[in-house]
Amino acid sequence: MTETRLKEKDKPWLMRTYSGYASAAESNQLYRSNLAKGQTGLSIAFDLPTQTGYDSDHPFSYGEVGKLGVPMRNLEDMECLFDQIPMAQMNTSMTINAPAAWLFALYLTAASRQNANIADLRGTLQNDILKEYLSRGTYIFPPAISMRLSAEVISYAVRNVPKWNPINICSYHLQESGATPVQELAFSLANAIAVLDEVKKLGQVTDAQFPSVVGRISFFLNAGIRFVEEMCKVRAFDTLWDRICLERYHVQDPKLRRFRYGIQVNSLGLSDRQPENNVARIIYEMLGVVLTGRARARSVQLPAWNEALGLPRKWDQQWSLRLQQILAFETDLLEYPDLFEGSPVIAQKEKELTEAATAELQKILEMGGAVAAIENGYMKRRLVESNAIRLGNIENGQQTVVGVNKFCDGELSPLVEGMERAFLTVDDAVEAEQISTLQAFRQKRDAAKVEEALDALKQGVRDGRNIVEVSMACAEAGVTTGEWTDALRAMFGEYRAPTGVDGLSLPMETKTENYKVIEKVKKLNARLGRNLKILIGKPGLDGHSNGAEQIAVKARDVGMEVVYEGIRLTPEQIAETALQEGVHVIGLSILSGSHTRLVPEVSRCLAQRGLSDLPIVLGGIIPEADVRQMNIPAVKKVYAPKDYQLNQIMWEIVDIVAAAHHIDMADGD
C-alpha cells in the first residue's frame, strides 16, 4: 500500500517577495524588515536602467531610476544592499538577464568582501535571455552573443559556485504574454534545450561535469487562475523534463533530472476593478503549484492585491507573504504525499498536455531550435495570436472575469475608498540623488585602474576567457554597470527584435463591430484628406510590448496607418517621429510607472516642434491622480490593461482625432 500520510511534514517552499526600489540603502531596509517578518529568501528587483545596462545618468534612464527596482551601478551599491545581511547564509534570487554576468560578478565580489566562501553561496540568477526577445524586452546584445554569455555564466557557476542556480528558464513571462499551457511547456523546454546545447558547444565544462550542469537548470513558472489545468501543467513539465534529461542528455542520476522550479503567480489576470478580489485569485493560482506533492514549487512569490493599480507598499507585500504562510503552516497540506497520484482525470489531462507540448516542441526543434524560432518570429507570432484570442474571449464574455465582465456592480472597497494612492510611489527626487551619488563615486575612484580593468575585460573576451572571471576584476576596480555594458556593446553591437506584429491579423470574432469601426475610419479619412495615421510609442526602458502590439495590430485591422517602432525610445525620438510622419494621434504605452516623468517630457518635445495640440492617448498602469497632476490638455484618454474592448478603444480614438480637427462625425457622409 502506498503511504497515505507523511511520517514527517514536508519542508515548506521558499517564500520570497520580488522587491527593491529607490536606492540600495532603502532596499536594504526593506529586505531586513521582510526577513524579520519570516521571509526566507530574497528576490531582488533591479531597476530598468540596470537591467538594460545603463547608468542612472544616461538619457535612456530618464524617469526610470529606482522605479521598478533598485539601481545597481557598482560594487559600492551591492555592498550597501547587503549591509548587515550575511550573504553566506542568504538565498538570493536576482532577476537579471542581459548583464547577468556583471551582476553575478558584483554579488560574488561583495560576498567575498563579507568573507563568505564563494563555493557555499546559494541563490538564483534569472539569466534566461531568450524569453527577453519574446516578451520582457530587456535584451541588449544579439541572440547568439547573449546565448554565449549566458552559457559562460552557467559554466562558471557549475565549476565555482556549485549550489547556485545559474539560470532560471522562464515560462512565467510567456504566460504573461498570453501563452497557452502547451506553449508554455513547449517554448520553455525548447529554451532549456538551446541553453544546454550552447553550454556543451562552449566547452568550458568537461563531459563528466555536464550532468551537474543539467542538474543546475531550474525553471521559473507562472500559474494562472484555471488551477486544475495549471497543476496538470507542472506535472507535465516534471514528466517531460525527466524525459529530455534522460533521452537527450543521458543523465543517469535521477536527482539531477529533477524538475526544480519557482513560481510567481499570474499578474496578467489581476484587475484594478474591485481589486480586493485579486487576493482570491492569487490564492487559487498558488494552489495550482503547491497542491501536487510530486511537482510542488520550490519557491513561491506572490504579487500584491493592488499590483494592477501601482507599486505595492510594504503592507501589501506583507499580506501576500501571509497568504503563503497560512497555507504552509496552518493548513494540513504538507502532511500528505501527492494527493493526485492515481486520479484518472488528472492523468488524462496531464497526458493531453504532454502530448501536445511534445508535438509543438518537435516542431520548434525541426525549425532549428529556440534561437531559430525567435529569429524567424515564429514564437513571437504565436504568442501575439494567443493573447489576441484571450482578449477576444474576455471581450465576448466566453471567459468570465468577476467584477470586470460579469458581476460588475459592487460596493466601493474600503481598501481604496478615499485613498488617493493605495500603492507606493517612488519620489522623483530619488533619480537626482542617485545621479549625484554615482557621479561622486566616479570622482573618487582610481580612473586609471578603471581603464585598465575595462581593457582587460575586452582582451579577456577576445581571448575566450570566462566572462564572470574577467568581470570580477572590473567590479573591484570600480567599473560601473553602464561602463561594463558599453564595453561589450562596442564589441558585440546592439539588437532590435522583430516586433511580432508583421503579417498578423487579429481573429475577427466580433465582425460587425470591426466593420463599423472600419467604416468610421474611412469616413474620417475622407474628411481629413489623409488616412488616419497613429503613432504607437513606447518611451523609456520598459520592454513589455504586448499591449502596444495588440493596439498596433488592431489599429491596422480597422484601417488606420500605424507607425510602430518597437520598444526603448527616448521622448525626443517619439516627438520627432510624430512630426516627420505627420500623424494625427499618438498612443503611448508605459507600464514601468515612470509615466509622471515620461509623458510630460514627450509633451515638452512635441511642443518644441509645434505639436502641442496633437492628441495623446495613454495605455498602462496610470492612476487617475497622476493624470490629474500631470495636467496635460493633449492627453485625451487613459486606458488600463483591463480595457480589453479594443473596438471600443479604436472607436474612441477616431472620435478624439475628429474632435481635434473640429470634424463632426454625426454629419452626413
Binding site: R496, N531, V563, Y564, G566, Q580, E581
Partner: protein, 337 residues
C-alpha cells in the same frame, strides 16, 4: 509667371523639419478644398527645381535588408555633409486599408539631425502601383535635400513604376536567389541601374550571385550608349561596400547629366501619368483619347511639368471627348426624330 506658394518657403528650403512635415501633409491631402494649394505648391517646386539633385529608388523583396542598407547609406552621406530625404512605402491591407509602417526604426539617425527626414507611406489601393501624389512628395524632398530616397517592397511590377519616378533604381537582392535574373530575362522587370547583393557576409552564396549577375549583365546590355548596370556586394551588418555604392550612384548621376536628364525626367513623368491615367480611366478612357501614343503626345504638347498639371490636362481632354461623344449621340437622336 510667379507663383506664391502656400507654405513658408524660406523655412522649407532651409530644411526646417516642421516646414517640411507641413508641406508633405499638404501634398498628401486629397480634399478638394485644398486642391488649389497643392497645385500651387507643386508648380512652385517644379519651377524652382535645383540642379544636381538625385532621386534614388531602392527596391527589393521583404527581408532583404533594404532598411539597414539605407541606414548605412544615410551614415555615409551624412559623413560627407549631404542631406537626405526618405520616403518609405509599405503595403497596406486590401481588407481594411490599414497598414503597419515600421521600417523607419531600422534607419538609424539622431533625432536632432536636421539633415535626415523620413516619411512612411502606405501603398494604398492604387492599381498603377505608386500613387499619383508620390510624384509631388518626391518633388518636395528634392527641393530640400541633396539626396532623395524612395524605398518600396516588391519584385516585378513596382520596379517599372519606380523607374518612372526616380533617376537611379537600385535593386537589392538576397544572396543565392535567382528570381531577379529570371524576371529580368523574361522582361517582367526592367533592368535596374545598380544591383546590390546585400548580406555579403553570407559568404559563398553572395559571391556566386555576384559573379552570376555580373556575367548576365554583359549579355543583357544591348546598346553601347546604354547605361551598363553595376553589380555591387554590400554588408550592412559589417558596414562594407557602401563607398563603392556611393561611387556608383555618382557615376550614374553623371551619366544621366551627360544624357539629357531633363528630357528623361519629362519622359518619366509622362509615363507615370499614362500609367495613372490607365488605372483611373481604363481602356475606355484610353480609347477616348485615341490610344496610348496619342496620350503621350497630348502630354508632350501640354509641356506639363508636375503630375498635377499633367493629370488636369488629361482630365480636361477626357471630359471634352466625353462631351463630344454625348453631343454626337444627342445630334443623332435629334436627326432621328
Amino acid at each position: 509667371m510667379s507663383i506664391s506658394p502656400p507654405v513658408d518657403i524660406t523655412a522649407l528650403l532651409a530644411g526646417r523639419k516642421q516646414a517640411v512635415a507641413y508641406a508633405l501633409n499638404l501634398l498628401e491631402d486629397r480634399r478638394p478644398e485644398v486642391a488649389s494649394q497643392v497645385q500651387r505648391l507643386a508648380a512652385w517646386l517644379s519651377q524652382n527645381a535645383r540642379p544636381g539633385r538625385h532621386v534614388i529608388g531602392i527596391t527589393g523583396p521583404p527581408g532583404v535588408g533594404k532598411s539597414s542598407m539605407i541606414s548605412r547609406l544615410v551614415e555615409y552621406f551624412r559623413k560627407h555633409q549631404k542631406t537626405i530625404g526618405i520616403i518609405s512605402i509599405d503595403p497596406s491591407s486590401p481588407k481594411s486599408g490599414g497598414a503597419l509602417l515600421g521600417d523607419r526604426i531600422r534607419i538609424r539617425h539622431r533625432p536632432d539631425d536636421d539633415g535626415v527626414f523620413i516619411r512612411s507611406l502606405a501603398a494604398g489601393g492604387h492599381l498603377g502601383g505608386l500613387s499619383a501624389n508620390i510624384g509631388h512628395l518626391l518633388l518636395l524632398l528634392e527641393a530640400v535635400y541633396d539626396i532623395t530616397i524612395l524605398e518600396t517592397v516588391g519584385v516585378g511590377q513596382s520596379e517599372t513604376d519606380i523607374a518612372h519616378a526616380v533617376d537611379t533604381v537600385i535593386s537589392v537582392i538576397h544572396p543565392g536567389s535567382g528570381d531577379m535574373l529570371q524576371f529580368m530575362k523574361s522582361g517582367i522587370m526592367e533592368i535596374p541601374h545598380i544591383l546590390v547583393i546585400n548580406k555579403a557576409d553570407c559568404g559563398e552564396a553572395a559571391a556566386r550571385s555576384f559573379y552570376d549577375l555580373k556575367n548576365a549583365m554583359i549579355y543583357m546590355a544591348t546598346d553601347k550608349d546604354d547605361w551598363q548596370p553595376i553589380v555591387i556586394l554590400t554588408s550592412a551588418s559589417q558596414n562594407k561596400g557602401f563607398d563603392t555604392l556611393a561611387t556608383a550612384l555618382d557615376q550614374h548621376l553623371s551619366w544621366l547629366t551627360a544624357h539629357d536628364i531633363a528630357k528623361r525626367r519629362r519622359w518619366q513623368l509622362w509615363q507615370s501619368l499614362l500609367a495613372f491615367f490607365k488605372a483611373e480611366y481604363g481602356r475606355f478612357g484610353s480609347r477616348l483619347l485615341g490610344g496610348e501614343r496619342q496620350i503621350l503626345k497630348i502630354l508632350e504638347q501640354s509641356d506639363a511639368s508636375t503630375p498635377d498639371e499633367g493629370m488636369r490636362c488629361l482630365y480636361d481632354q477626357v471630359t471634352a471627348a466625353m462631351r463630344r461623344k454625348m453631343n454626337m449621340v444627342e445630334d443623332k437622336h435629334i436627326g432621328d426624330s
